[in-house]
């Protein structure tokens, strides 16, 4: 985080100062790359380049502080992700071998790797084993440092839904860590939810 330097850095970058842009890039590119890696795998580098190109084109029109800038950056990234997913859905690649299990990290291997040295890559690989929406939200909260309302704006959900998805993701992580020999997290130690019935809609019969 640049803190109080951010407004001046942003102003100079908007005027085309390469050094100011480099400062912004060094601060926000690593979390951006990690977010895209968790969400899109090997396409992360290409997507990150597209995002920064979009930032370079539009940075002179951006108004706001550092949290807003991060929110804007990751909103652009998420749009690129959605575009890529749509493109892949329209043009599915036919694998010549059974590579589907390699698309996403296997949970057992990544958990073991994470527990051995807990490198950044291993931790991200473990997070990437979560369902995609939960993995995105956990990374946006933990790696990028956005709070629940900011994440909600980026992913287009309510803050409550973001909290619930993040808690579910952590619970799943804890369960997987417990499977490989760590002290198994009992269900009572992680967020538990009580299921309640929806209010009676008033006798509506479908």
């Amino acid at each position: 985080m640049l803190g109080h330097e951010f407004p001046e850095v942003l102003r100079r970058a908007a005027l085309g100062d390469g050094a100011a842009f480099a400062t912004l890039w060094r601060d926000t590119h690593p979390p951006l790359l990690r977010y895209l890696w968790v969400a899109a795998g090997d396409a992360a580098e290409d997507l990150a380049s597209e995002v920064w190109l979009e930032v370079a084109r539009r940075i002179d029109r951006f108004r706001g502080g550092e949290p807003e800038f991060r929110g804007w950056l990751f909103t652009l990234a998420r749009r690129k992700l959605i575009d890529r997913h749509r493109y892949e859905a329209r043009r599915p690649e036919t694998p010549i071998a059974d590579t589907a299990p390699l698309d996403r990290p296997a949970s057992n291997d990544t958990v073991a790797a994470a527990l051995e040295d807990i490198s950044t890559e291993a931790a991200l690989a473990l997070i990437a084993t979560l369902p995609r929406d939960q993995a995105e939200i956990v990374v946006l909260r933990v790696v990028v440092g956005l709070d629940a309302p900011q994440v909600a704006r980026v992913v287009g959900k309510s803050p409550g839904a973001v909290r619930i998805a993040a808690h579910r993701g952590l619970r799943t992580l804890a369960a997987r860590l417990g499977d490989v020999g760590m002290a198994p997290p009992a269900a009572r130690e992680l967020p538990t939810y009580r299921r309640v019935m929806a209010p009676d809609p008033g006798g509506v019969t479908l």
Binding site: F21, W25, H29, T120, D147, A174, G178, A186, E189, T192
Partner: protein, 266 residues
């Protein structure tokens, strides 16, 4: 029915009563915020904390290896933005000037269209009565056909202070062909009508006024140079002879021919 304002997930997973989050939720929020599970936390929480802390470590050298390429791309995009802005300014400048020289041309064209439209309508005698009368007195358009009262004798365009032949036609039209004597207006009208008078109006007046209208039409005919023969024919009741047929002038062929026909009917 009471509407539920939360999401579907919130409908099934409610927070603890009184707005308090459960200890598990509080622990999850601590982990997500990077504050750690704290001493004495269950080992499962500590394992999750270690994984999340590893994911949020500072940037590696590999992650920052693309800085030079990113800055180069940024500078290229900034130059493109600047060039686009410059082109935008150049492009807007003529656009801002365009109305300056287009406005007079458009105005002139509109005025020309209006002039032609009004003039054409006036020449056809289709303007409302007062406007048609104004057009008649201004540039010699046909007088309004339904003008109940004749205009003042001193028509400035006539210059003779005589009765306007076009308006006198309405009076004898009531008598029709019964009267064959030429009216006094006949003589006056001869040679008084300016050649600029619209011949169509003269012809129509002559047609509708029957036998006596011929006398009026003579004025028009005279103005075209062919009215003298008519005057003799209709005014004296002499059957039409082939000899003195008026020769249509190029200026108003229709008016002369109709005048001749009317003279034959008389």
């Amino acid at each position: 029915m009471r509407a539920f304002s939360g999401s579907l997930a919130e409908m099934f997973f409610r927070r603890h009563p009184a707005g308090r989050s459960s200890p598990e939720e509080a622990m999850a929020e601590r982990l997500l915020a990077g504050r750690g599970a704290g001493p004495g936390a269950p080992s499962g929480h500590q394992a999750v904390e270690r994984v999340l802390a590893a994911a949020a470590r500072p940037a590696t050298r590999r992650e920052l290896s693309g800085e030079a390429a990113a800055v180069t791309a940024f500078l290229r995009a900034a130059r493109a933005n600047e060039a686009r802005a410059r082109h935008g300014r150049h492009g807007r400048r003529p656009a801002a000037r365009r109305p300056a020289y287009k406005l007079p041309a458009v105005t002139a064209a509109l005025m020309m269209v209006m002039f032609l439209a009004i003039g054409g309508t006036a020449a056809a005698g289709a303007l409302p009565g007062p406007l048609q009368r104004l057009a008649h007195t201004t540039f010699g358009a046909p007088a309004p056909a339904d003008s109940g009262r004749p205009p003042a004798d001193g028509n400035p365009r006539d210059g003779h202070g005589t009765v306007n032949p076009a308006t006198t036609a309405s009076r004898p039209a009531t008598t029709g062909a019964e009267s064959t004597a030429p009216t006094a207006g006949d003589g006056n009208a001869q040679g008084q009508q300016e050649p600029t008078s619209a011949p169509a109006a003269t012809a129509s007046t002559t047609k509708t006024s029957g036998g006596q209208g011929d006398g009026n039409s003579q004025g028009n005919g005279n103005s075209q140079g062919g009215g003298t023969g008519h005057g003799k024919k209709s005014g004296q009741g002499i059957p039409p002879t082939p000899g003195p047929d008026p020769t249509p002038t190029p200026a108003s062929p229709t008016g002369s021919v109709q005048t001749a026909n009317a003279g034959r009917q008389g």
